[in-house]
């Protein structure tokens, strides 16, 4: 019997299991960077811990730099700073963004206009360029940087939150709550905020990734984390200068940065798919 192209036999494909992989990578990275330095026997600032420009080996899994400092230690400490700045700024951006967006959606009228025009003005300035302005004005300590990046990421978050909040406001359950006499702000707080969670989850993940990219870029061009502190971006800058001596000084931070951001991107993409399915009836 000839096989008919339209008629198919055989098993169906299974849904991808990407999200757990991404979260595992993130958890491992975060834990390593936060707890690692306590457990690892080399210090990041320990000059001469080993011979300079060693490649990966048993003593030093990621090699050493020009001053003989252990790269694994530097990566973990640098990762700590990156993690702190990235999560801190993501939190700030979510906090500001949610309040901003919810206020605009709830109040409508002129306040909405003002808030959104301000957001537009912010977003008309490309992020790195605006970062330049902020850093030139306020400097680049870890705390300052966290705030700056948080503020930079807030307007986009606000726009997204506002648009979701507005569509939720016109959903049946919210209209029903209003019809019972509840004020708009009250409805927003009790009924709608919980329904914003899927959106906020996705946006938070995206923002952490964006924050890492921003911070690393700033550090690489010299406007971010200043010596003696070092984030992954700084490590890359220093490694770039010493490339001819040891390619590992560039390769290792690169891989860490890319893998971390990729894990975040993959997670955000599958969270996005999940939130879409959650809201679709």
């Amino acid at each position: 019997m000839t096989k008919k192209p339209a008629v198919e036999n055989g098993p169906l494909s299974k849904p991808a299991r990407r999200i757990s992989f991404g979260i595992i990578v993130l958890a491992v990275t975060a834990l390593t960077c936060l707890l690692g330095p306590l457990l690892w026997h080399f210090e990041a600032t320990q000059i001469g811990a080993g011979l300079p420009f060693l490649g990966p080996g048993i003593e030093h899994p990621f090699g050493t730099d020009d001053l003989g400092r252990d790269q694994l230690a530097r990566l973990m400490v640098g990762g700590r700073i990156t993690v702190i700045v990235a999560t801190g700024s993501a939190l700030i951006s979510i906090l500001i963004g949610v309040i901003w967006g919810v206020l605009a959606a709830a109040r409508r009228g002129w306040m909405d206009e003002v808030l959104m025009r301000t957001a537009d003005a912010f977003m008309a300035i490309p992020q790195i360029v605006f970062a330049l302005v902020f850093v030139a004005a306020f400097g680049s300590s870890i705390l300052t940087l966290t705030f700056i990046i948080g503020v930079l990421l807030a307007p986009t978050t606000a726009r997204i939150v506002r648009s979701v909040a507005m569509s939720e406001l016109s959903a049946d359950y919210a209209v029903a709550a209003r019809a019972c006499g509840l004020g708009r702000m009250r409805v927003m707080a009790t009924e709608i905020l919980p329904n914003l969670l899927p959106t906020v989850r996705v946006q938070a993940t995206i923002n952490v990734a964006a924050a890492i990219i921003l911070e690393a870029t700033l550090s690489f061009i010299g406007l971010g984390i200043q010596p003696p502190d070092a984030s992954w971006g700084t490590l890359l800058l220093q490694g770039y200068g010493k490339f001819y001596n040891s390619a590992w000084l560039v390769l290792v931070p690169t891989i860490w940065i890319v893998v971390t951001i990729w894990a975040l991107t993959a997670t955000s993409e599958s969270l996005h798919g999940r939130s879409r399915r959650e809201t679709a009836t």
């Binding site: 003005a121 790195i128 302005v133 690393a216 870029t217 490339f243 560039v250």
Partner: protein, 320 residues
Amino acid sequence: MGRFIVTRLAWSAMIIVASSILVFLVLRVLPSDPVLARLGASTGVDPEVIARLRAEAGLDDPIISQYLSWLGGVLHGDLGSSYASQIPVAQIIAERLPVTLELTFLAMLTVVLVSIPLALAAVFRGRSIADKAIGFLTSLGISVPLFVVSLILILVFASTLGWLPSRGYVPLTEDPVQNLKLMILPVASLAFAASPLLIRHMRESMSEAESEPYVRTAVGKGAVRARVLLQHILRSSLVPTLTMLGLIVGYTLAGTVVAEYVFGLPGIGSLALEAALKRDYAVLQSVVILIVFMFVITTLIVDIVNGLIDPRVRVGGQRD
């Protein structure tokens, strides 16, 4: 249509002004002092000297009058002078702008030429190997920051293989061949960084369009896949794609800061960076506003083109 254009023009002007106020505020309402930065010290300078320099630079006037006098200057083509070098800002910018324009233009061209075929290839046959591969590469591409891409390109093509020079610039008018040769790596890094964004966006909007009923109608008429894709799916994704393209121009403009720095191109991106490092607010302010201006104009053009393509944009018309 005319009304639409006028509305959008007015809106664009408003945004540019609002952004300039924002930048102005950040740079003036700040702890560190441009005069001190110019003098290169933070303590131990005679307070009278500081006071005199500040008065000269007009830093003691109320913010509003500072802004208005700056704005007045802009409209006359006077952007002030660099704190560091005393050269008129307008002159510095005029010298360096062509570099950035060339870089951005070539980068956007590459992005479009690379992204559209790849996105179409991905969507051509749903769930094909091409789709999965392109999806994977896109996801990966988005995760690699611009400066990392630049680094990798330099280390591979310049340092290791030695095929291309890693830094430098020669004006187009002087030596076109060398100019383009030096542009290859910077353009490539900007394009590699930006293309995944466009491809992902196109893939998403085209697969959404895929499930629209009118696509089913087209298939029901007997249209082959290529026709359905080009005439219907791509057509209706055109508006969001163009919008995204406009955003990517902004992204690329920001990217010139990094790319020009890494590849040693004397454009306005590297100018902004230098100004930020030197706390040269006069230059920084003007460069940033210029970048905003270019970005907003791009968005304006995109909106107008969208209005021409899709009648619903004109009719519905509102910004959100």
